[in-house]
């Protein structure tokens, strides 16, 4: 895997200096060699701010993911014009605590963003995430609206269904990409979890991805590679997802999951909804492509 060359390519493309679409090569052998034992950490508690540090501790703490001087991207779900209680977006306290952790670990820059579904400003405000990040009052952390100029076409060479898509430059061009989805119901894919949350860094007509959603998400997961996935299940939306809107559909579960393995994180989160991991097509497709572990017996759950 030649990450450095890849980042250089992205830079050249977006600077107009190269017409060749950037290409991210990860060889199956590299994947196999790299594949860490599927560790998954689970923490329960009502103090969501403290819960973040707690869930990361068994994985070696944030320091295991963020090195001093790193450029960090935190990608929550800010997709909908809904309040935190309505459980359509990642909980602001979780995002804030995660950003604070990254800063503590010495990150040089922490960027938070999402390409929203409803009007951007309303989503940022009403999700409570914009305010939460501003409260950190640290120059190194920024919450930004997506800048259309920054979508770069990326070749997806291992893709079975997709061969190219526009991806937000900052999500690729960083040292540590942290995916922070909220776990919730979804009409088409049944649940939206980590892999689905990656859609927030995509340009183009995202709706068309739904036509083969599971495989498309798995294909995208070959290029969009979070170092860490933290799944917010502090409260989960059981019906009428992904937006909800009725508090009767929300269940308080006070849970956070974290893993370096994006597939394992999704697989385990599925069980919170009393479903089997293979009920989610994207999890299954990604597992089949060797992108992570889905077999619950092979995922080591560390309770923090």
């Amino acid at each position: 895997m030649d990450r450095r060359q890849f980042i250089k390519d992205i830079f050249l493309w977006s600077a107009g200096a190269s017409l060749a679409v950037p290409h991210f090569r990860i060889l199956p052998s590299a994947l196999a060699a790299e594949k860490p034992p599927a560790l998954l950490s689970l923490a329960r508690g009502e103090d969501y701010a403290a819960l973040v540090a707690q869930v990361l501790a068994p994985l070696g703490g944030i320091e295991n993911f963020v090195r001093p001087g790193d450029k960090v991207v935190i990608k929550p779900n800010i997709g909908w014009d809904r309040s935190p209680e309505q459980a359509a977006n990642t909980h602001p306290l979780v995002v804030k605590a995660l950003a604070a952790q990254a800063l503590q670990a010495g990150a040089e820059k922490v960027l938070v963003f999402d390409r929203t579904c409803n009007e951007e400003r309303r989503c940022y405000v009403n999700s409570g995430i914009e305010k939460a990040i501003r409260e950190l009052d640290d120059k190194r952390v920024r919450i930004e609206h997506v800048d259309r100029r920054k979508f770069v076409p990326i070749k997806i060479s291992r893709g079975k269904s997709l061969s190219e898509w526009e991806i937000y430059k900052d999500a690729l061009d960083c040292d540590c990409y942290i995916n922070v989805p909220v776990a919730k119901h979804h009409g088409l894919s049944r649940l939206t979890l980590g892999l689905k949350n990656s859609m927030g860094v995509l340009g183009g007509n995202r709706g068309s991805l739904h036509q083969n959603l599971g495989q498309n998400l798995a294909d995208l997961a070959t290029v969009i590679r979070p170092k860490l996935t933290v799944i917010d299940a502090t409260r989960i939306l059981l019906r009428s997802g992904p937006q909800g809107g009725d508090l009767k559909d929300v269940k308080k579960t006070d849970t956070l999951l974290a893993s370096a393995d994006p597939v394992a994180a999704d697989a385990y989160a599925t069980t919170l909804f009393d479903l089997k991991p293979d009920a989610i097509e994207s999890t299954l497709a990604a597992y089949k492509m060797g992108l992570g572990e889905m077999d619950l017996d092979k995922i080591q759950v560390l309770t923090a």
Partner: protein, 523 residues
Amino acid sequence: MSSPGKRIPVYVWRRFGQSLFFAFFLFLFIKTDYSGSDELTYAVNILFRIDPLLAFCAWLAGKAVIALMLPALITLGLTFVFGRFFCGWVCPMGTLIDGSRFLFPHGRQNFSPAWRRLKYYLLFFLLVASFAGLPLAGYVDPFSLLVRGLTFAVHPALDHALTSFFTFTYQQGPDWLNALTEPVYEILKKHILPFRPKVYALSIFSSLLLSAVIGLSLLERRFFCRNVCPLGGLLALVARFSPFRLQGGSTECGKCRQCRKVCRMGAIDEERNIAGADCTLCLDCLEFCPAGRIHFTWTGRRNAVQPTGITRRAFVATVATGFLAPLVLPSRTLARRADSALIRPPGALAEKEFLGRCVRCGECMKVCIGNALHAAWLEGGFEGVFTPRLAGRIGYCEYNCTLCGQVCPTGAISKLSVSEKHATIIGRAFFDKNRCLPYAKGIPCIVCEEHCPTPDKAIKFRESPVMNSRGEVVVVRQPYVIDELCIGCGICENKCPLSGESAVIVTSEGESRHAGYAGADGY
């Protein structure tokens, strides 16, 4: 005044005043946007609410006094005392016309005084027609013309130009240049440009109308204000009685006629009388009279009220036209069945009342954060041009947003609370099964269901076996609409990923403002 060298010329004060009002206008214009809370902070519609032309037309059309428009009486009262200061100092259209004078350096003077009456006839016609059921004031009101031109064309064009420039520097420029340009772009984006690029129906047409108003100055200075503007006409009628005015020149005062030459309104006659109806108090004559004879003073009753030149015949003809023209309206097909593609903003009054009140100011379309509201063409009839309609494939109505009702200066769109808004039905979606992927091709999709914002989704789906293009029978989720839940926001139409026409389309069917009243006359 003792040392004339240091005195600030009065026209400088006037220009300062004009600039100040214009800046205030632009400020309000920019602020007509979501700003981080559900309630708008600035009363951006204030300009329209002090416009007595629009107030009277809306009142006559609705046969009721709309409290929102009461501030217009203040303008009228001040004009009664001080004359047409509004045109010379406040009106942003006047300022724009003055400010673009450098484009027409050789504008002729005194085109033909008979043209002045046009604005009065226009005024009478608009007032009477409004009363009789044909509300057209918004077509020619200066604020409406200006705000539409700016909203639909100028602001988006500025955005496009600057964004193209900064995209170029971003992609092609070296790092040191970007270190300079990017912060500038960020500031512009934050404070001046629209948050996201916007598009508008009738944008070119609106910019042409605005250009025409300015371009008329080619014929003579402030041609529009002198001869066309019906608001100017109304103010002129009142200003004729104002006790404070400019005077001082006379037949004996000299041969220079400097005052006549500088007057932008052609308000000074051969005898050096200054007509209260035409004078906009720009004070140029006061400044440039070599003898310093002209002053702004109390003239009280001594001051004869000058004639307007309106002939009785023309007056009667105008009023008659105003009454008769609306009589042809019921002859249109629209009278039998309303255009189902005409979806009004949430909170819009019932159609007839709505048309009477809507002053075509474009504020709702400016503020619409979903870029859903667009100027109608003939969907609502001739009297509906420039009124707002929702264009679902271009933009959609944001579920929790209530901004259009907050900016509407006349209450044509009523102000709704968020929960009232959630319960307001503006239309209803239906599926085109010949296009919708799960029906037509057996391909999974339901992006529409994903985006449907009602807590109990108005779009639901059922699993059905379908034969796909390869002849295989697959089970897909097929969406359908629950009419009772659908509010017609249009997000489904907007987000449907098909490349052409959407497979789910919203029509005005079921809109709550008519309560069971489909079409204008379903009989």
